[in-house]
């Protein structure tokens, strides 16, 4: 029998664990890796902003306004030039990463909590709860987000907190929709019925049977909504109703640079490109996660 054990046909009767498979897929997914690396770098930049920024991002020098970046003939003193108030562009970009990431994360967190709670409740309990949640989702979808966000921010005054909370309160719809349908799907699985038959309490079923199986979808939505929130904040800032100056938000920087867009296009290009790269990275990651965590193939 001893040599039967080494029979190649027996070799993979038990395959890799789900965790191993996941890891393998993660490291085999180019988009995901690129996205994660870029995002990781940006997160590090945000965290270590005070050490990385060559200047105080708020220090203005009216006599040195709109100096071009190094590659357009500027000096190394301000590698990316200065803005309309003579503040160092690079430093502002670096600090801007904090704002964008903060807004993305916190807004996605808030909307994630709201949307997940609603979606899971609707999917699990069905019936009247589902009807109410579906109705709320419809109401939310019927509200023009940009318009409502603009109006609220205009009225309340756009501080960072207000913007984050408004975005958080507006972007829960996709969470609710996705969590509802994934919960619905998982709820129909027989292991949930088995857990109920074993006598599990509802919270336990939700937490230990449902959640682990929908959390991958949740992560995907979190990334998408993060990107969404960041873009929306940028749009609000662009329309003049985002975070308050002198906070260096990238959307605000585009908006400020926009004035000189025809003459100093780099002022728009630079923050626009970073914004694009950040959102791209998050989207790549979200996409990658979606591919990687796709429901486990049968056997």
């Amino acid at each position: 029998m001893a040599d039967m054990a080494t029979d190649p046909l027996l070799a993979d009767i038990t395959g890799p664990t789900p965790g191993q498979m996941l890891r393998k897929r993660i490291f085999g997914h180019q988009g995901l890796l690129i996205g994660a690396v870029v995002l990781g770098v940006l997160v590090l930049v945000a965290i270590f902003a005070p050490w990385l920024a060559p200047h105080d991002p708020y220090a203005q020098s009216l006599m040195a306004r709109m100096q071009p970046p190094v590659f357009l003939g500027g000096s190394w003193e301000h590698p990316l030039g200065t803005d309309h108030l003579g503040r160092d562009y690079l430093s502002r970009l670096i600090y801007g990463a904090r704002v964008s990431l903060l807004i993305g994360t916190v807004a996605a967190l808030i909307s994630g909590v709201i949307g997940t709670a609603m979606g899971v409740a609707a999917g699990y309990f069905g019936g009247r709860v589902d009807a109410v949640v579906t109705f709320l989702i419809n109401v939310r979808l019927a509200m023009p987000v940009v318009l409502v966000a603009l109006a609220v921010v205009a009225i309340m005054g756009g501080s960072l907190q207000v913007v984050i909370v408004v975005l958080g309160l507006l972007l829960w719809d996709r969470f609710a929709v996705v969590m509802r349908s994934s919960t619905l799907q998982v709820r129909g699985r027989e292991y949930v019925a088995a857990a109920r038959a074993v006598g599990c309490s509802t919270p336990r079923i939700l937490m230990s049977e449902i959640m682990p199986n929908i959390v991958n979808n949740l992560i995907v939505v979190v990334t998408l909504e993060m990107a969404h929130a960041i873009l929306l904040e940028a749009a609000l800032s662009f329309l003049g109703l985002g975070v308050q100056p002198p906070t260096p938000s990238w959307g605000l920087m585009v908006s400020e640079g926009k004035n000189m867009m025809l003459f100093e296009p780099w002022m728009v290009m630079i923050p626009g490109v970073v914004l694009f790269v950040l959102v791209l990275a998050i989207n790549l990651m979200g996409d990658g996660l979606r591919d990687v965590t796709a429901p486990e193939n049968r056997s």
Binding site: M4, D7, L9
Partner: protein, 333 residues
Amino acid sequence: MGDTLLTVRGLTINIPVGGGTLHAVRGIDFDVDRGETLCIVGESGSGKSLTSLALMGLLGGRIDRRATEMQFDGIDLTRANARTMRALRGDRMSMIFQEPMTSLNPAYTIGDQLTEALLLHRDVGREAARARAVELLEKVGITAAASRLGQYPHQLSGGLRQRVMIAMALMCEPELIIADEPTTALDVTIQAQILRLLVDLGREMNMAMILITHDLGVVARVADKVAVMYAGELVETGSASEVFNAPMHPYTRGLLRCIPQPGKTERGARLGTIPGIVPSLVGGVTGCPFRTRCDQVVDACRQAIPRRNPGSGNHEFRCVHETGHRMAEESPA
């Protein structure tokens, strides 16, 4: 009979997968004569569906199919181009799939789907095609056939849909019909009806049929010829009575012991089993694929396995043991 319609020699199907190549089907041979019913039986994943798709030329582009010989009525299928295959499919050879619920296009009416093949292959008008469709629907036992043409698949039950699938396969009076588990998804009562229908129609139209199934009962009742497939290989072939009455391969014997047979098996008694699971076919596969589960296993099972003919007719099996049983002097591996 004896008039060979389909000849397959050394059919091999390789599928590139994540960790290497999946040798899903390895060098199988069989013939089908006109009007004859060949049943391929085997466990899930043994390569039955791949074999049938390979015959139809419906394997995806990624999948590598090769054969030393594959002839359909003199046409060399290994060399046939896409156009030739298209002309054959649906016309001279057609197919019935396992899942009646999903095998019909939900967006088109039964009538549209039934007549499509005829309109594609034959120079007939819409009216003639519809008339033929009604005729065939009646033949497969569907009442109010004319009014069914305007219905959509979702309006029909599974059994009806499978009948529609059969009618669809028969539209051009094919010479060969390949039915891949046509009744697995159906209830036992419907299964009996559909099988009867297939058998009757096959006889009536002198069609050759390849019926794929994992149900030994079906095989026994329907087949002229049986091919038992295990892990991509044909382990035993022969006429139905040869295989069922004198199974030679340990796997065939094992299978027959596994099923409770009313009247034969004692109620509540333990059934025979085949321990273990189907081996992975990724990477190099040598020797007998059944050796991991076989109670007759010996060291020699890892070498090339001879093809044996226990005597009568076309009965053949592949095993190191001449009779499918380990000799007393051989020690288990």
